[in-house]
Symmetry: C2
Subunit: 538 residues, 2 copies
């Protein structure tokens, strides 16, 4: 009997091997490690750690039985109009890398490991305990005007003075730090790396320093502090891309408190989603709650943290079915959280006061709000806007159902833009403009350009290609205002081997005032002013 | 390169095959199906669908590299004192079955499939729509005194008249129906089968009938209705053993509304539990909430259903970390839910008013309350009690912290019982006794016996072996009172090939009044009086 099975299995194995003659070369262990790293760095964000697809399509091996390796190579090299980057043309991946990835993507998917709470606890490092930190700001600078600049590909954050533009310090954070968030008081910056490492930066010492670290995820995008009255700065949350969970932390030490799985069903009424990634998280000021968006599950969870320090660590989670592929979003009126749903090109409005879905709005193609832009229009009332990655449009929505019920949750304007590929728009109450980038425009001229939109006429006032950006293959990305709202900064994000820089503009005249650069300025992306970030000014 | 791999794999395969010469015979597909079915019927309840262990130890193949097949066979045949049944000695499994299971348990674990919401929806069958059901009771019997009797191994429920003892009808339900629950009004019985099939039984027609069915799980133990004011009978929930999720249903049609995964981390601070089974569920009358116990995760979730019919189907879940291997439990004072935690031999008290853990109490070994027993003691005040499977003890706890703060959540008595193996105790306000069975006693005399405990002296008043029970290898199981509290019924649960019966006792004198039996009375287990079940009288 056993001998028979052995023969049968051997025959089957031989048949499989023969069939595989047209398939990929098996990868060596070294090749596998390198391919996994490239996949994590460049692919998993859109296609998922288990290759099931999200913002990008599924890359499971079955997908390539018809299309084949040559198609795959061509796409990895030259990109696709829907948003797939041209990794070969950009020089990010070599021909050898592309051949490797072509084999890798035809190999069976291995899910990354899970993490237990104990695994997470072991990564926790309290570098300076709260009682050893200064009781008052030790700097004479206006620390609330600090601007944290993410140096993406070196895993660092530079802290600059928003007034003098001095470089104050450069701190080590996680790989490809995704965002900075401010604690409610503004005293702490929290950084989250794409490698899942969270860092707590204290801005009150003479020179800002990292006071705690923890790594709750193997892949992450989001971190937030507790902002409700009585809980200011006291708790934090990290949302993971992998494993599919979020972790509640002590806000002052990053000590892990509790971990909650986000494995769930698509919109509560679909397939079970094992890779249910946590996208944007924001803190409510209405309730002691975080608004946690679960991408592939199309669910928004309102996580009430008010009793998590009590026995049994109760965490009250209101699970709301929203829409598929939630990504990022921001506040309107301090009450409505507006989040992009990439799979359906919609904006979902969560009323965080009633804990209900208030509206669904048709955006452009693949809306990418960042946190969006808020302003009050003289006739239309309060507005909120988003850019779109896949269409040349800034989508402007009316957001005050109480005082402007007739146009609430309507798109009041679809402002035509010269390019697609907008990642971020931003404004400030003191500036007449909404500034838009076109970071992932397939057109290099677009990627190097900015536009200023008139908040009153809802028209494009002016667009300009930033001098010197295209020359270093830089993409303009992410606008941030200083505390006073008199200037805005935009990164010229060049490849690793070229000199990046930050351009500072006058927030009224749009004139370039200065540039910030130096050897340290490697791949600067997001910039976060302490005051604006802590107070949700955008 | 490919040829080399083929040779390497062939060599490895041969080595594995050689090593396997001391291992189990590979099972044929037919053997595999039969073994999986036996595993599901007899093993997975305690050892888990993925064999990771819960109430019983892990049965993963690694466990048997040292202990080996002969040990395994001996244990399956003869049981173990901790609670492992003697399947061979009982005649439930043949020698051939035991040999098959010994091989099966040494084979790799294959997790059962998942179910999507769509899969569940496809099983939904509305047999009679609410508008086609009678508006008033169509029977002249007192339907609130109906007693539903589970006929376990034939997947049926018999409905009897609690007064006349007439058999009214026999209805098809799921395999090995686990429990019946009443809707708030009492009009509907909800049955849940171990195979995950839920049935809604309308008691108002002249003859009760199944009006809706759905199968939200492949393995299940719990079902409950919504009981809060304004939601009476309108919603239902089924908790699954596999897949690890619960499903919210329309209470009048069983139409699936939303599915929520219970994959979570042990006590919020441990390993990720993929097989996180839903044990007992009860409905709060304080809040529009179900209390859902997640066994291997050691978490109790308070599931607020009040807004699930609104857009986005919001479900507010308060996740509380409690203790490992939560099993069943019941209400005390209508406010405290007391649930057994089998891994730590504790009772966990959830205050459903404050949504907090109120106390942890040391029980006996493997407490198994069913829903427990409630009464008011003249000196000690309100008490609640549980039996224990693994120790000869009825554990009596004081449960009124407001009026009896000095002894609240203390064990006021550990009443010594003559046997271990108690599955259920039960009482009624009109009876001076708490009745205990010893269903899983390893002693056949114990399994055939009952004891009456005096609610005032807290002593065993009398114990008796039920005449005729041992003769048919019957185990006495599960006491239920009639509506008036004048009589109680206990099942004499015999094997499939022997005649089971139900004994009816006088609730005051403990005299046997009559026996209920017939060809239909195959493996009767749980019995549920409509009024007592709907009103939590126990």
């Amino acid at each position: 009997m056993k001998r028979l099975w052995f023969i049968i299995i051997s025959v089957l194995l031989f048949a499989a091997w023969s069939a595989a003659q047209n398939g990929p070369e098996a990868l060596s262990p070294e090749e596998m490690v390198r391919a996994s790293q490239i996949y994590f760095d460049r692919c998993s964000g859109c296609h998922g750690a288990t290759r099931k697809g999200a913002t990008g399509p599924s890359l499971e091996p079955e997908q390539f039985t018809v299309k084949g390796p040559e198609y795959l190579k061509a796409v990895i090299w030259g990109g696709l109009p829907g948003g797939m980057p041209d990794w070969g043309r950009q020089g990010v991946l070599t021909d050898e890398d592309i051949a490797l990835m072509t084999s890798y993507l035809q190999s069976p998917v291995e899910a990354p490991p899970q993490l237990s709470f104990g695994d997470i606890q072991e990564t926790w490092k309290l570098i300076k305990a709260p009682e050893d930190r200064p009781a008052t700001p030790q700097t004479e600078r206006e620390w609330q005007d600090y601007i944290g600049v993410i140096l993406r590909d070196v895993g660092k954050v530079a802290i600059l003075d928003g007034d003098s533009k001095d470089l104050i310090t450069i701190l080590d954070t996680g790989f490809a730090t995704h965002i900075l968030r401010s604690s409610k008081s503004g005293r702490y910056f929290m950084a989250i790396g794409r490698d899942g490492k969270a860092s707590l930066i204290d801005l009150w010492p003479q020179v800002p320093e990292v006071v705690a670290e923890v790594r709750p995820c193997l892949d992450a995008r989001s971190i937030e502090s507790s902002k409700y009255e009585g809980f200011e700065d006291s708790l934090a949350i990290v949302g993971c891309y992998w494993p599919s969970h979020f972790v509640v932390l002590d806000g002052l030490t990053l000590e892990p408190i509790k971990v909650v799985s986000t494995v769930s069903y698509a919109k509560g009424v679909g397939e079970r989603i094992d890779e249910a990634r946590v996208a944007a998280i924001v803190a409510s000021e209405f309730f002691p709650e975080w608004i946690v968006n679960i991408k592939e599950a199309g669910q928004t969870w309102l996580v009430d943290y008010s009793s998590v320090m009590e026995p049994g660590r109760p965490l009250k989670i209101t699970m709301i079915d929203t829409e598929l592929y939630l990504h990022d979003g921001g506040w309107a009126m301090g009450r409505y959280f507006i989040v992009a749903a990439n799979a359906v090109n919609k904006l979902i409005v969560i009323d965080t006061k009633t804990r209900q879905v208030a509206a669904e709005i048709e955006a452009g193609t693949r809306p990418h709000p960042g946190r969006g832009a808020n302003w009050v229009h003289p006739e239309l009332g309060p507005l909120w806007a988003t850019g779109n990655i896949g269409s040349p449009e800034m989508t402007v929505v009316a957001v005050d159902p109480e005082n402007y019920p007739e146009n609430a949750w309507q798109v009041v304007e679809r402002i035509e833009m010269p390019y697609t590929g907008t990642l971020f728009i931003k404004t400030h109450p003191k500036s007449p403009w909404v500034i838009s980038d076109f970071t992932v425009s397939p057109n290099p001229e677009g990627a190097a350009s900015l536009c200023a939109i008139d908040k009153e006429s809802l028209e494009v006032n002016s667009c300009w290609q930033v001098p010197g950006a295209a020359e270093v293959n830089a993409r303009m990305v992410h606008t941030e205002f200083n505390k006073a709202g008199t200037e805005f900064w935009v990164s010229a994000w060049a490849p690793l081997d070229k000199q990046s820089f930050i351009v500072v503009y006058d927030a009224q005249t749009l004139e370039e005032k200065t540039r910030i650069s130096g050897e340290w300025a490697i791949t600067p992306t997001g910039k976060f002013n302490v005051y604006n970030t802590a107070n949700d000014i955008y």
